[in-house]
Symmetry: C2
């Protein structure tokens, strides 16, 4: 099954998954403590019974019994050498058991923690899942269900493993604890943003909570979802009874939640622990005749990190991308990087986030250092220690891949120009990881002189990006700020492009501010005024130094004036304790000789 066929299917019907497999196998004689994968291979009639019951109850998609079929888990039973064969054979058993159903290969946690939380290297995790996926593919699965995931990096490893093997649809469900975080601290929305950018076909949650708690998560995800949402809850909350955990929600009560899940935004439903074919039948009955919910994010595109996200759209507050983690022109930072130290990088990250940067640009392009190694290490450090999405800034495809592969979120990528190398080598890498793109109107011939030419170049770059699935939401155009002292119409040329983006084309626009004032005195004044003018024309992002107070002041005020600061909470939060006296301070600070009387202060 292709991703597109899956998409068409779930657009047309609420897709009903199966329920619990383990407890059903126990009912059919599987003893506690055995390896379920091996026991099933030895008792094919058991899985045939379970899955044909689910198919009869209404499941349209059942998971192959390969939950623990990865090398780490099988090693506990000395069978780490047989991963491919075991998964292949189990997939075939499911196919035979439920011939009318889609069979999705089940992949689940390895039981180990990945860097930086644990010791397992990211690439080792990818290899582990690749091996399992190869077996499942050999068994003829229709797609993959990566479930019960508790860590975004392990999930990304599993998704990448599948993606690097085939184009089959991938459903991902993660398990959120109370507090709506996974065990390693990932939140549902950030995970959704990261994974849908990485190309999963559906996302949601399974296990850990009953339908009620899971409804809340689905409601949380809905406004950000660009793929169908999955809910595979347990049969209520677990209870300790007679020395074992039981799930006591009956089939009828469980089925009542079906329409509620659809109303909340989920289009793929099933059951996890404690659910039975009866639960699935009740669910299916309740859903009869219901259309799947519409997909279509209410919010604009977002970037994310492991523990948070940021909307980057023309409706969202203005996004300042902190520009300081970049050795160009910074001698102290250059010296540190040459020594392989990241102290200043850390300090710049701290300071910029504290000053209000929405993202951090990360650029390690400097002669005499290993840009690739530095980028990999720097991104890993920043992703681990700082709660801000990153903007990966490089001209090299290999550096881009190193950064985006290890980054546990959806990054912004700066930038894709119309230069041959960028379109042919860098764009495919950025696209593979689903990064948002900065489109830079530059060609191999240089910078186009006119607005019309710049627009044409942007359209050409976007046409290429579109081939990889990019929509307008997923890009921002670099306004290409030139130096006004070199050409008096330099600013208007940029502002014209900004306006075209905002009004004609409807895309994000970003500017690097400081070029505009090159060669002039009081560059702060020129930069600040230019920012105001550009905001007036529709700019919604800037690559700037957030340590410059008047830049951040202009951004905060601009959001109020553009109506992007809902109930002005941002502005009031920042400046609510100051009053008109701030004016006098500003004036005095800038050297005014005037003593303003209070009534004149504004």
């Amino acid at each position: 099954m292709t991703g597109d066929a899956f998409k068409a299917l779930v657009a047309e019907q609420v897709l009903i998954l199966d329920g619990a497999t383990g407890t059903e196998l126990s009912k059919r004689g599987m003893p506690a403590g055995v390896c379920p994968e091996l026991w099933v291979l030895e008792h094919p009639e058991a899985i045939r019974g379970v899955q044909s019951d689910y198919a009869a109850a209404g499941s349209r998609c059942v998971y192959a019994p390969t939950f623990g079929g990865n090398r780490c888990k099988l090693a506990e039973f000395g069978r780490e050498k047989d991963v491919v064969a075991i998964n292949r054979d189990l997939a075939r058993l499911s196919r035979a058991a439920a011939p009318g159903c889609l069979i999705f290969g089940d992949m689940a946690p390895t039981g180990q923690f990945i860097e930086p939380v644990g010791d397992l290297a990211f690439e080792d995790a990818v290899a582990i899942y690749r091996e399992q996926a190869e077996g499942l593919l050999a068994g003829g699965v229709d797609g993959f269900a990566i479930e019960t995931m508790m860590d975004i990096q392990e999930t990304r490893a599993a998704v990448l493993a599948v993606r690097e093997l085939c184009d089959l649809p991938i459903m991902v469900t993660m398990t959120f604890e109370k507090g709506q975080r996974t065990l390693t601290g990932n939140d549902p929305v950030s995970a959704l943003i990261t994974l849908q950018a990485l190309g999963v076909s559906a996302f949601g949650c399974n296990c850990s909570m009953g339908p009620e708690g899971m409804l809340d998560i689905i409601r949380l995800l809905k406004p950000y979802a660009r793929v169908p949402l999955i809910a595979k809850p347990n049969a209520g909350l677990p209870q300790w009874q007679d020395g074992r955990t039981v799930f006591s929600m009956g089939a009828a009560a469980f089925g009542v939640f079906g329409p509620e899940f659809v109303a909340a935004g989920a289009g793929i439903l099933g059951g996890c622990c404690g659910t039975t074919p009866e639960h699935i039948r009740s669910l299916a009955n309740g859903l009869a005749g219901l259309r799947p919910p519409q997909i279509g994010a209410a919010h604009g595109a977002c970037v994310s990190h492991a523990r948070g996200y940021r909307e980057v759209s023309r409706q969202a507050p203005f996004a300042v991308i902190g520009e300081r983690i970049n050795p160009t022109g910074k001698k102290a930072l250059q010296a540190e990087l040459r020594e392989g130290k990241f102290d200043l990088v850390s300090r710049y990250a701290d300071e910029q986030i504290a000053a209000g940067a929405a993202l951090l640009d990360v650029n390690f392009g400097l002669s005499g250092i290993d840009e690739l190694a530095m980028m990999r290490e720097g991104v890993a450090m920043l992703a681990r220690d700082y709660a801000a999405p990153l903007c990966v800034d490089t001209t090299r495809a290999d550096v881009a891949e190193a950064a985006l592969r290890c980054y546990p979120g959806r990054a912004l990528f700066n930038s894709i120009s119309a230069e041959k190398d960028r379109l042919e080598k860098v764009l495919p890498v950025a696209a593979k990881y689903g990064a948002m793109l900065v489109l830079l109107p530059i060609t191999d011939e240089g910078i186009p002189a006119t607005l019309a030419e710049r627009i044409a170049v942007i359209k050409r770059i976007f046409a290429e990006a579109k081939k990889y699935g990019y929509s307008k939401d997923d890009v921002c155009v670099d306004g290409l700020v030139m130096t006004v002292s070199a050409s008096p119409d330099a600013a208007e040329l940029t502002l014209g492009l900004v306006e075209w983006c905002a009004r004609e084309w409807g895309v994000n626009c970003v500017c690097g501010l400081s070029n505009v004032s090159f060669g002039l005195p009081r560059r702060d004044l020129i930069n600040r005024a230019f920012l105001g003018m550009a905001i007036g024309r529709g700019l919604n992002m800037a690559i700037a130094n957030p340590m410059l107070v008047d830049i951040m002041e202009t951004v905060a005020a601009g959001d109020v004036l553009c109506g992007r600061d809902v109930r002005m909470q941002g502005f009031l939060g920042r400046y609510g304790n100051s009053d008109g006296g701030g004016v006098a301070t500003s004036a005095a600070a800038a050297g005014s000789a005037a003593a303003l009387t209070p009534e004149d202060a504004v």
Copy 2:
């Protein structure tokens, strides 16, 4: 002859005036020391000879011999009671002498100085010229030549006197000394701006200099002229010879200048002291077949005061109208005005001009004071003591008239709304004095809610103004700034109007800034950002407090970014001695904790 007929005539041909009258009369026996007007009445054959000679030489317009025919001059000869009869009879003599020519009534200085330079009250001067003009009208003149004027207020008095009697064309020529100022300090361009706004049909210079020096003045005037320019030079520079002043430039040499004047921009030519019918013949011969120069100011509309002017257009630098001379909300100023004192008004004028205000708004609307008397006195004081054009700000027609009548320049008038009273009573007054207008999109029903409605109201006001001869150049639209804390789209509504003015309609747009931030903390930030945004959308004027440093900084930077600051001379002049350190200063001043390293400062 109507003003329009005159306009058509001078559009079609270079209009040739007469030459000197006094010296020609002397040649025909007029003794030194007599009253020329009375002597001519007694020797009609003399003027008949002079003027028929000029007509034969090529003059198409001759001046009635009434140069000294005002009450002040005639009083020197005891004939102040006969002004009307003398002027009437002299005009009739000219008509008979040169039947094919236009006869323009000649009015010239009273010989007294008007307030504030001298003691003669402005209204007395108007009365003196009115009396003379009544006589000339009775004599059937085709128009008026107000010549050899040395003071803008005396000139305005003469023009207003004629305008209040009839619609005949008025030509004004002033006499500029070396240094290109009149005796009382008026410069040619400011006088042109003031008088063409007041409705004169042509403007230029006569006497005092030979053709060469006068060419420079015509070149100076040309880019600002919306009416034909007049050059009536002497026959070269005066020389002292044998106990008397002689003008030694011969007719042939004089005639050579004709085409040069036309090339420089003058379309109405004649001669002053020392010129003869031979000079006029030579001039006429040289001009044969030449078309008059095109009228059409290269510069946009200007406002003026007695000794200077300021272009107010979208090409010119941004104009900040200093808002502080306005008692609203200023307790100290209110108290002073109630006592009839102007100390704070003077101080506000000083400070605002020093801070870079292009115009000063003057508003004396305050309950408990005599707004009319205060306005008349305040405007007179400000016009006398300060070198800045004024923006007269009142809602009352009588106050507007008092201010504009005594103001020795072209003022901006704030404002004309679509309210019935403003259109019917205030607009005619502003139009009479040719003030530039602020158009305010408000009706008797209040403030229109939508952009489309505001635009419709502006168009309606402009349609009324057009009936009085206003062009788009002569108005600026008030962007009507509303409070963003009351409505999140308030700023965009104003910005939409700003942009419509700048791009669609092609007119000046002005905003009062401070309303936008009402009710918020750090209003300076909101005001400054709003200003930047509005500049980006096309704003070219603001009513603001120029003492607020960041407003003026934003304006200066905005001019650089809009390409309105030619070679950045304004910005470099203001900030050229500062450097990047200014940034650190701003940041530190505003409370940033960051110590920026030098290489990061911009």
